[in-house]
């Protein structure tokens, strides 16, 4: 262990249980990050950070008492354990002896980003800027961002559990603005993963090309149609639909509070039989992957929908204990300043048999939503909303004019039922997911899918 000596961890746990509790846990973290961006043709805002800190929590019944502290000094860890224990009302308990370290799936990092000179990262931004501007004279502005992070975490539980994880993430993003007459449109693209600099060695400037292409395409866009239409959703970031419309409702905390439309529906046929979906935190080098989750449970692949039937929720330790099942390795936290809650890792539809062309060919009049700017769901009702960032009309089975300003609104349960085709081109994109004030990296993905009917809110009258 490199952050906290196990002997000290044992004393912290003992102090945390000084007034009882079913479980105590010490979570220690060291995080380093570096980021730099290019905007308006200029490399700016280079910044690095280094934070260390810890969180101590004690669980008693349905109540959790916790505290966090910046730094990993012995006296601070013991003090926070003492102050957390004061919330508990009971007799002291002794933690179990600490076991050997669990690590879980490995995500190989060939070239640690911190070993690459900052000047090379700045050069990459400049190269992306050039590529974006080379896409056409209507490209008015490009903003390119580079970010890397390195998190080391250690988890010690009063049940003897000890786990460690070393997580390196890297991400390149491009936002390109195109302008024609009075019209201004924006296109974005990203590439990222639980990986090192090697992820950016193969033509990373494609990210700029793609963002520029999207912005330029939108210059020709017509107003989005309004009404109930068939929708073909693109692969990769199109998977944010599954993430929002279904995934959040499968997180066990929402389910157990009856704050999810999916509560009490395990085993039910919610989608056609050709639909299977996973949450997979062990997928090698994917953006939302880790070795162990933030409670020390090794990540794994969980089948959430199998042949259309709802097969599993996503659990952290507390919610799994309540349901008498194992944690699925979905206990995640933004940092040592937060409590772990059930969160998705990489969530995606399994590939099907169709091709994207076949899905589109079957639509007489509809919308092809290639990518979303983001989305939001109310898990209690399943109602969702998505902003379409790149979309086209489908007319007589063919993709025609680009549209702008389209929003999809609907309900997760209804959308699942209305799925009527899945292609084979699975791709996973890099998202950030917010829940309860915590933001974590989440992989979203899918092959192309078709939904028989969704409400499209457009601007065309």
């Amino acid at each position: 262990m490199t952050l906290v000596d196990p002997e000290l961890a044992a004393r912290v746990l003992e102090r945390a249980l000084a007034r009882g509790g079913d479980m105590a846990e010490l979570y220690a973290e060291s995080r380093r990050g570096f980021g730099v961006s290019l905007d308006d043709g200029r490399v700016e805002r280079p910044q690095g950070g280094r934070e260390r800190g810890a969180c101590v929590r004690v669980v008693q019944g349905d109540s959790t008492y916790y505290g966090h502290v910046d730094g990993l000094a012995e006296e601070d860890l013991l003090r926070v354990a003492g102050s957390v224990s004061e919330g508990v009302r009971g007799d002291a308990r002794r933690p179990a002896a600490l076991a050997a370290i669990a690590t879980g799936a490995r995500h190989e990092v060939a070239v640690p980003p911190e070993e690459v000179a900052a000047a090379r990262k700045a050069d990459l931004l400049r190269a992306c800027d050039e590529r974006a501007r080379a896409a056409g004279p209507e490209v008015a502005q490009a903003r390119i961002g580079y970010a890397e992070s390195h998190r080391q975490v250690e988890i010690f539980g009063s049940d003897g559990r000890v786990a460690a994880d070393d997580r390196t993430r890297i991400r390149l993003s491009a936002q390109v603005v195109a302008r024609r007459d009075g019209r201004v449109e924006t296109g974005t693209d990203t590439r990222g993963g639980h990986a090192g600099w090697e992820l950016l060695e193969d033509d990373p400037e494609q990210v700029a090309d793609e963002a520029a292409r999207r912005a330029l395409t939108l210059l020709d866009a017509v107003d989005a149609p309004t009404g109930r239409l068939p929708v073909v959703v693109g692969n990769g970031f199109g998977g944010v639909l599954l993430h929002e419309a279904v995934g959040h409702g499968l997180e066990a905390d929402a389910v157990q509070k009856q704050a999810s439309v999916y509560a009490g529906r395990l085993g039910e046929q919610l989608a056609p039989s050709f639909v299977t979906a996973y949450d997979d935190g062990s997928r090698p080098n994917a953006w939302g992957s880790e070795g162990v989750d933030d409670e020390g449970t090794p990540t794994r692949r969980t089948t959430v929908i199998e042949d259309g039937r709802l097969t599993s929720y996503l659990y952290d330790l507390l919610s799994s204990r309540k349901d008498g099942v194992e944690s699925t390795g979905n206990g995640r936290r933004e940092s040592f300043r937060h409590l772990p809650v059930p969160r998705m890792t990489n969530t995606f539809f399994a590939p099907g048999e169709a091709t994207p062309e076949e899905l589109i060919a079957g639509v007489e009049r509809g919308l092809y939503a290639v990518s979303f700017g983001g989305g939001q769901v109310e898990p209690a009702t399943g109602d969702f909303v998505f902003g379409v960032s790149e979309g086209y009309l489908i007319e007589n089975g063919r993709v025609t004019a680009p549209v702008r300003g389209a929003t999809l609104v609907g309900n997760g349960i209804e959308a699942l039922r209305a799925l009527d085709g899945i292609a084979g081109d699975l791709e996973i994109a890099t998202g950030y997911c917010g829940k309860g004030g915590q933001t974590v990296p989440a992989g979203v993905g899918q092959p192309h899918v078709r939904i028989r009917e969704l409400t499209v809110g457009g601007t065309a009258s």
Partner: protein, 448 residues
């Protein structure tokens, strides 16, 4: 003064590492958070935090580093890292420390009464919020009721000799309630904020959550139409947050604001008056100085229907040949300063909500919007966002509706504001915004 001292040491270290100028921002805080579910404490935290961020200049290039070590060695390492980072940046002739620094007099940022609130008392307050929400008729469940607070200090020092600090306290509570069941279940949120827990009305916060959920029970998808829309204060505040972001001189100078080049133009109906005020004693984002040590102030943004100007920090002000408005903003010590709003304040009008609804005639009262971050194009201002609310029929509130979108573009919306409500309140959505309900004479509503 310990914090100010840490900031000074960081500046000295940065200068020693070869910075031509430097600045350090240090923070220290304690915070509590109580989450209640089903009448019981679900989680309770008591936490402490501290950190420092150093901005170092190499001429007109700037670099930043932050960390949680306030020791001599810790700040020295950060100072070196910031100075090294500056080597990566390109030259920017407008970059640099502000030409003048200082503090405004903003009374009441820290409440003396805060200390009277033991953890036991704030737990009681959170439980009371929860009880109030659960006692609203038709409320089937309360997802959670949360109380949280923070008591902290901030210090800033720079190599031109400025050093200052201030303390502030803040308390919030919110509750999220469900009413109805099955496919008819709807949610509602109640919020309250103040300088100490004594300013929070637990009963009102809980009741608001329950009532907002209750009035939407039985909501159906409406027909598509173009009609007058009343935005409630929560929703109006969220939209004003977007308008505020586009009035940043940084967005304007980088060609990312639809307000670029429109100073003095007519951009709104005269009934809509908007200002940014970093000195409002009640404002959650009020402070004596901004993120780079410039005194905060009040900046009129939209008056008499015209766009008065933009929000500046020292860099954007130099580039525009203007004076900074004290809007260098920091999310925390982890981010370097950049232009941002402080507290956006929409002036109240004469009509109570009932009057706005009556004036709307036939239309829609929107109480919830979703997907703002993906549904508003910050460059063009066009938007289409998910919404829920209540239909307005013959000047009165009628049946609830959901699964709809409202669409327009921000300037059209501002120009078609036809009345502003009198019930102004602070809302923690869209940043820190003080807003009343607003009547917009026409928007596109898409349903079935």
């Amino acid at each position: 003064m310990r914090l100010e001292d840490a900031a000074r040491r960081a500046v000295e270290a940065a200068q020693a590492a070869g910075a031509s100028d430097s600045e350090a921002w240090a923070e220290e805080s304690t915070s509590r958070r109580v989450r209640v579910y089903a009448g019981e404490v679900e989680s309770l935290s008591d936490a402490g935090g501290r950190g420092i961020g150093v901005r170092a200049f190499a001429g007109t290039r700037s670099g930043y580093a932050y960390g949680t070590e306030l020791t001599d060695d810790g700040v020295a390492e950060l100072a070196r890292a910031a100075r090294e980072a500056a080597e990566v940046a390109d030259e920017d002739e407008y970059e640099g420390l502000p030409d003048t620094s200082g503090s405004s007099d903003v009374p009441g940022l820290a409440s003396a009464g805060f200390a009277d609130w033991s953890t036991e008392r704030v737990v009681e307050l959170a439980l009371a919020v929860d009880r109030a929400a659960r006692s609203v008729p038709d409320v089937t469940q309360v997802e959670n009721s949360v109380y949280s607070d923070a008591q902290g200090s901030v210090a800033l020092a720079n190599s031109r000799g400025f050093a200052a600090s201030y303390g502030a306290t803040q308390a919030w509570a919110y509750s999220s309630a469900f009413a109805g069941e099955g496919a008819d279940l709807m949610t509602g949120m109640g919020v309250g904020m103040g300088r100490d827990p004594g300013e929070l009305d637990a009963e009102a916060i809980g009741t608001e959550a329950g009532e907002r959920a209750r009035m939407l029970v039985g909501a159906r998808q409406p027909d598509s139409r173009r009609c007058p829309v009343v935005l409630d204060a929560f929703v109006a505040a969220s939209f004003m947050g977007f308008v505020g972001a586009m009035l940043s001189a940084d967005a304007v100078q980088r060609g990312r604001s639809l307000f670029a080049g429109r100073e003095g133009d007519e951009v709104a109906d005269p009934v809509l008056r908007l200002a940014d005020d970093g000195t409002d004693p009640e404002g959650p984002s009020s402070a004596p100085f901004d993120g780079e040590g410039t005194p905060t102030g009040r900046t009129g943004l939209i008056e008499g229907g015209r766009l008065l100007g933009f929000l500046y920090d020292s860099r954007t002000a130099r580039r525009a040949g203007r004076a900074t408005t004290g809007n260098a903003s920091r999310g925390s010590y982890r981010t370097p300063p950049g232009v941002g709003t402080t507290n956006l304040v929409v002036a109240g009008g004469d009509l109570e909500l009932e009057g706005l609804v009556a004036q709307a005639g036939d239309g829609l009262y929107v109480t919830e919007v979703a997907g703002l971050h993906s549904g508003v194009n910050p460059v063009s201002g066009t938007f289409s966002v998910g919404a829920a609310g209540i239909l307005i029929e013959n000047g009165r509130l009628g049946r609830p509706v959901r699964e709809l979108t409202i669409a327009s573009d921000l300037v059209s919306m501002l120009k078609s504001v036809s009345a502003v409500g009198s019930e102004v309140r602070w809302v923690p959505f869209g940043g820190s915004v003080k807003a009343p309900p607003v009547l917009v004479s026409e928007m596109a509503v898409s349903g079935s």
